[in-house]
Symmetry: C2
Subunit: 273 residues, 2 copies
């Protein structure tokens, strides 16, 4: 397998450059990329160190490293070009066109996208994360009136990671409610949840996939038996139908896919806070 060194270099967190590089490189599954991330490269010394690291990799691999950068400080960016790399710069590439289109110069300031820009919305995002932890796994249903969304599903259907992702990225107040044995036996929307019906979104899952997940974790009695998984999923879907709540199949979807699907279908606000 072809190997290629990759560097992600930024004067701030490097998260944007990392996202860009990752998205592009996953389009080349036949190459093994060996990635080094250099965040907070914000002094002459650190730039010098980065150039050195890139040059060493070029020598060791016998090929120029791919270098993904987002420098808000263009001076540092240009100094990095002294290294023997192939450069992909998000800002350089697009900011010129944007400046012309908008008739304004860009702020050229670092850390705008992953720093704290707006204290109120930042605090709201932290509050959302705290809320999701507070209302994880059926805890504190008395706080459901504050929830913008309540995920419902059987154990291990993906409720916890999805609600935390929605809180972390979109500042959404998201609770999650695990269907209990009694709920599943009854097969109808639990009475206590009826008042919140408009904000409920169901998660369902292929029973076979559920079994695999449950087996990986623990095998408490019948918990991970296929028969039990089939029963629970069937009853959960009956509950969603009874309550007329929408639901999504999480079997082959990533957290990001589940989260963005729910936001789109519930027409909730989406945007980095």
């Amino acid at each position: 397998m072809q190997k290629r060194p990759v560097f992600i270099v930024s004067d701030r967190t490097g998260i944007t450059a990392e996202t860009l590089g990752h998205s592009l490189l996953t389009q080349f599954p036949k190459i093994s990329f060996e990635t080094t991330i250099l965040p907070f490269v914000d002094t002459e010394e650190k730039i010098f160190g980065a150039v050195l690291q890139i040059d060493r990799a070029a020598e060791a691999y016998g090929v120029k490293p791919l270098v993904f950068t987002t420098f808000a400080n263009p001076e540092y960016n240009h100094r990095l070009f002294a290294a023997h790399g192939v450069f992909f710069d998000l800002f350089d590439t697009f900011l010129d066109r944007l400046e012309k289109e908008l008739g304004q110069e860009s702020a050229h300031s670092a850390g705008m996208s992953h720093g704290i820009r707006d204290h109120d919305s930042y605090t709201a995002r932290i509050s959302a994360v705290n809320f999701s932890v507070h209302c994880d796994d059926g805890l504190h249903p008395e706080a459901y009136s504050q929830a913008e969304l309540i995920l419902m599903g059987v154990s291990r259907s993906g409720k916890t990671p999805t609600s935390l992702y929605l809180a972390m990225h979109f500042g959404l107040f998201c609770a999650n409610y695990p269907l209990t044995e009694e709920d599943l036996e009854a097969g109808v929307m639990p009475k206590v949840m009826i008042p919140h019906r408009d904000r409920i979104f169901g998660l369902t899952i292929d029973p076979l996939r559920l079994q695999v997940i449950r087996q990986e974790r623990r095998s408490r009695g019948q918990y991970a038996e296929l028969r039990q998984c089939r029963f629970e999923v069937r009853q959960a879907e009956a509950i969603f139908h009874d309550g007329k709540v929408p639901y999504v199949d999480t079997s082959a979807a990533s957290i990001e896919e589940i989260a963005t699907t729910i936001i789109a279908r519930k027409q909730l606000r989406r945007g980095y806070r």
Copy 2:
């Protein structure tokens, strides 16, 4: 304030396009961007709908919307160009150069970066999120032997969101331990934590900022008094010094900045799972 409509359009989650658009647009703080996100645009009909929405916005605002796209299917991408927008295509722009550089065609497949590519690493990431919730706020210290990192700090110093972020994004098994009243009184590394010292990272915070955060949340007795905040922060830092554990000031830092700083300083692996 100048207003400008913005569209993020993708045949998958749109997260990459959203991140890049956001990073670029935050460089123009004087313009008010009104963003519409259209994920999962993966049929002829949906493309047609997207073109219509962009055209309507162009008419309503009297200016062409900025359109950030990441289509893995180039055909859809090209059809979107029929709309009256100014297009910034992240794949088109960089993939050509990458293909030439790597001597390979790109996979042109959608959902590579935010879908499930590798089941094992995806499962590991979910396990990390579950672990962080399991070990949030001092819960289940018996599981600390599994932790790759343990955040330590006073109440409201940012432990919970940071550890969840580290788990979600980097698949890191991260616990967090809140310093108790007794710990703070003692002012030395708690005995139970000494065996884990190598994996502890401290969070400190400006007492004034801590007071603001605590007041926003609740004001239980002396909890949010400045005097108390000062005492706790001073003792927490004494504990970090006593235990010789590194720490970072979270006062003016975002979750992303705190998380990436810790990863860089502890030289932990970083990479989207």
